[in-house]
C-alpha cells in the first residue's frame, strides 16, 4: 500500500529535526507567496529556504488529509535542497531563478530514488532510476521538490478519480473533483500545499484541472519541454508543463524547464525566450480570435464569465475578431483514436518482466495477461482495448489513418486562423468542477468534456488556462479561460494572460 502523504511527511519532518521557529516574526503566510516574494525574503535573509520548505511540509501533514493531492512526500530530498540554497545565501552566491521554491511533481514524471507510480497499481513500488530532464532542470534552478502528486492512472482521465490509489478533492469544494489528469498537481497549488507544480498535458490534463481549481496552467508548444523521464501515454501528444497561482510564476518555471534536450529527439531546438521580460507589454493592437464553435451550446455559467473575460481584453486594447475553426466538432473522435492507439502501444511494456507488478503465474502468457488485468485499472484497460482495436488488422485505415488525416485538418484550421489573429480565446472546460463519482460510469461523457482542450493538443500549439471568475450558483466554482497561440508563441500567450491578471480578470464577476 502507498503510505499516505500526511503520515509520511509528519514522521519525516520530526525525524529530520525540522521545527518551525517560534520567533518567526513574519506575519505573512509563507505558503501563499509567489516565487519572487519567496526569493526577496531569502535574499534579505528574513527567512530561510529550510523554513519555507518546512512550513510547506507541515501544512501538507495537516491539510492534505482532506485534499489528498500528494501520493508521496520526500522531506529528505526537500530539506537537503533547501539547506543547499541556504548555504548559497550564506555564501553570498547568486541564486537560481527557482531557488527555494516549494514544488510538487506529478507522479508520471520520474524522480531518481523516489517512487514514481503513475497512480497505477502496476507501478506501485517502482523506484525511478533517473530524473526526468524537467526535474533535473527544476532542481538545477534551485526548486525544492516536496513530493509526488496524484493523477488519473497513467494520466488517463479528466477527474483524478481514475487514480489506482484514491481520488483527489477540489480544494474549493471537497465533494468535487479537481479535474484531471493532473488533479493532484493543480489541487496542491490551489490549496497552498506547493507554490508551483509540474503536470503533464496530453489532451488538456494541465489546462482543465487549472480551470477547475482556479489557478494558472500552461502547456507549451509540442517539443518546447523535454519529455525525457515522462512516462509515455500518447507520444505525439504528451507535454510537461507548470501550474502556478500567478502568470509570472508559471512563466518562470516554463523558462527553466524548456529547451532542447538531446535525450528527447522531439524536443525543439528553438531558443527559449525570457518570458518574464515581455510580460508587462501592453495589449494595444493584439488581435484576439473568438471561435464561434467553442461557444455554441455552451452553458451560461461558463459562457458569461468567458464573455466578460473577452470584454476585458477589449478594454485593454485588444481587437476582438470572430473566427471559425470548422473542424472543432471532430476533435474528440480524432483525439481519442490517436491517443488510445498510442497508449495501447506505449503500455505494452508493462509485462511484469523488467519492472512493476507481476502476477505469479507459472506460464508466460498467463503471467502477461494476469499481470496486466490485475495491475491496470478500468480506464487504462478501456483505452488499451480501444487503441488495440483501432490499430488492428482491417480497422487501421478506417480509424487510425482517418484520424491522422483529420488531425491535419484541425491543425490547418489553426494555422489559417493565426494568419489573422495573434491569440485565440475560448473556455477551458464546458463545465465547472463536478461532484466526485458523478461521471465515472460514463466514459464517453467524460471524453466529451475535453472538447475545448484536445484541439490545441492535436495541432501541437501552446495553450494556457487562467482563472476567469466564478460561477454564480452555490458553491461558486472557479471558471477557466483558455488562451491559445501559434507554435512557439508562449511569450505572447503569457503576455496576454498577465495583462488579463493585472486588470483583475482572475476575479472577474
Amino acid at each position: 500500500m502507498i503510505v499516505t502523504a500526511p503520515l509520511e511527511s509528519r514522521e519525516c519532518a520530526d525525524f529530520l529535526g525540522f521545527r518551525p521557529r517560534n520567533n518567526l516574526s513574519i506575519s505573512m503566510d509563507l505558503t501563499t507567496l509567489t516565487i519572487s516574494e519567496i526569493q526577496r525574503l531569502l535574499s534579505r535573509r528574513e527567512v530561510s529556504a529550510e523554513e519555507v520548505a518546512g512550513i510547506h511540509l507541515e501544512r501538507i501533514a495537516q491539510q492534505d488529509q482532506q485534499v489528498r493531492a500528494y501520493l508521496s512526500v520526500c522531506p529528505e530530498r526537500a530539506l537537503a535542497q533547501a539547506r543547499k540554497i541556504d548555504r548559497q545565501v550564506a555564501a553570498g552566491e547568486p541564486l537560481g531563478p527557482l531557488a527555494g521554491v516549494p514544488t510538487a511533481v506529478k507522479d508520471v514524471i520520474l524522480t531518481r530514488g523516489l517512487r514514481t507510480t503513475c497512480a497505477s497499481r502496476i507501478l506501485e513500488n517502482y523506484v525511478a532510476p533517473y530524473d526526468a530532464t524537467a526535474v533535473e532542470r527544476l532542481e538545477a534552478a534551485g526548486a525544492v521538490i516536496l513530493g509526488k502528486t496524484n493523477c488519473d492512472e497513467f494520466a488517463m482521465g479528466s477527474s483524478t478519480e481514475n487514480s489506482g490509489f484514491f481520488p483527489t478533492c477540489n480544494p474549493h469544494d471537497l465533494t468535487r473533483v479537481p479535474g484531471g489528469s493532473s488533479g493532484g498537481s493543480a489541487a496542491a497549488v490551489a490549496a497552498n500545499l506547493a507554490t508551483v507544480s509540474l503536470g503533464s498535458d496530453t489532451g488538456g490534463s494541465i489546462r482543465q484541472p487549472a480551470a477547475l481549481c482556479g489557478i494558472v496552467g500552461i502547456m507549451g508548444t509540442y517539443g518546447r519541454v523535454s519529455r525525457f523521464g515522462l512516462v509515455a501515454f500518447a507520444s505525439s501528444l504528451d507535454h510537461i508543463g507548470p501550474f502556478g497561482r500567478t502568470v509570472r510564476d508559471v512563466a518562470r518555471v516554463l523558462r527553466a524547464i524548456a529547451g532542447r534536450d538531446p535525450k528527447d529527439s522531439t524536443s525543439a531546438d528553438v531558443p527559449v525566450a525570457d518570458y518574464e521580460a515581455t510580460l508587462d507589454e501592453n495589449l494595444r493592437g493584439v488581435k484576439v480570435g473568438v471561435p464561434n464553435e467553442y461557444f455554441a451550446g455552451l452553458s451560461p455559467e461558463i459562457g458569461d464569465n468567458v464573455q466578460k473575460g473577452i470584454d476585458l481584453l477589449a478594454k485593454l486594447g485588444c481587437s476582438i475578431v470572430p473566427i471559425s475553426l470548422p473542424h472543432t466538432d471532430y476533435a474528440i473522435a480524432c483525439y481519442y483514436i490517436i491517443c488510445t492507439a498510442e497508449a495501447s502501444s506505449n503500455l505494452a511494456r508493462y509485462d511484469g518482466v523488467r519492472y512493476g507488478f507481476r502476477s505469479p503465474e507459472p506460464e508466460l502468457h498467463d503471467m502477461y495477461r494476469k499481470t496486466r488485468d490485475q495491475g491496470f485499472g478500468a480506464e487504462v484497460k478501456r483505452r488499451i482495448m480501444l487503441g488495440t482495436h483501432v490499430l488492428s488488422s482491417g480497422y487501421y485505415d478506417a480509424y487510425y489513418l482517418k484520424a491522422q488525416k483529420v488531425r491535419t485538418l484541425i491543425a490547418r484550421d489553426f494555422l489559417e486562423a493565426f494568419e489573422a489573429v495573434d491569440v485565440i480565446v475560448t473556455p477551458t472546460s464546458p463545465i465547472p468542477a463536478f461532484k466526485l463519482g458523478e461521471r465515472v460510469d460514463d466514459p464517453l461523457q467524460m471524453y466529451l468534456a475535453d472538447i475545448y482542450t484536445v484541439t490545441a493538443s492535436l495541432a501541437g500549439i501552446p495553450g494556457i488556462s487562467v482563472p476567469c471568475g466564478r460561477t454564480k450558483g452555490e458553491p461558486r466554482l472557479p471558471v477557466g479561460m483558455q488562451i491559445l497561440a501559434k507554435h512557439f508563441g508562449e511569450a505572447r500567450l503569457l503576455q496576454v494572460a498577465h495583462a488579463f491578471e493585472e486588470a483583475g480578470g482572475f476575479a472577474i464577476a
Binding site: P262, S265, T266, A268, D373
Partner: protein, 100 residues
C-alpha cells in the same frame, strides 16, 4: 450494437489482457458507444488530405539525431533494481521453452 462479446475477447487477447466475464460485459456497451461516436469522422472527405505524421512544427529546426557515442548508463544492479524476479544478473521469467 455493432461490437460483440467475441470482438471484445479478441481485442483483449491481442492486448494481452485477461478480462473477467464481468469486465467483458461492462466494457462491451462502453466500447461500442465510443467506437460509434468515432464514426463521426466519416462525415469528412479526407481523400486529398495527408495524414499528420509529424507533430513538430516544420519551422523548428529539429536536429533529431544526436551523435552515436557511448554514454554512461545504468549498472546491472540499477537496471535490475525494479525487477519482480531476478537471478544470475538477469530478469527471470516463467518457462518459455518446454523441456524435452
Amino acid at each position: 450494437m455493432a461490437l460483440e462479446e467475441k470482438d471484445v475477447r479478441y481485442v483483449a487477447e491481442l492486448a494481452h489482457l485477461e478480462l473477467t466475464d464481468e469486465e467483458v460485459k461492462k466494457f462491451l456497451p462502453q466500447l461500442d458507444s465510443i467506437l460509434q461516436y468515432m464514426h463521426k469522422l466519416n462525415e469528412l472527405d479526407t481523400g486529398h488530405v495527408e495524414p499528420m505524421a509529424q507533430v513538430t512544427y516544420p519551422a523548428a529546426e529539429n536536429p533529431s539525431l544526436r551523435s552515436d557515442e557511448p554514454q554512461p548508463t545504468f549498472t546491472r544492479d540499477e537496471a535490475l533494481a525494479n525487477a519482480p524476479e531476478q537471478g544470475g544478473g538477469c530478469f527471470k521469467v516463467p518457462h518459455v521453452i518446454e523441456k524435452e
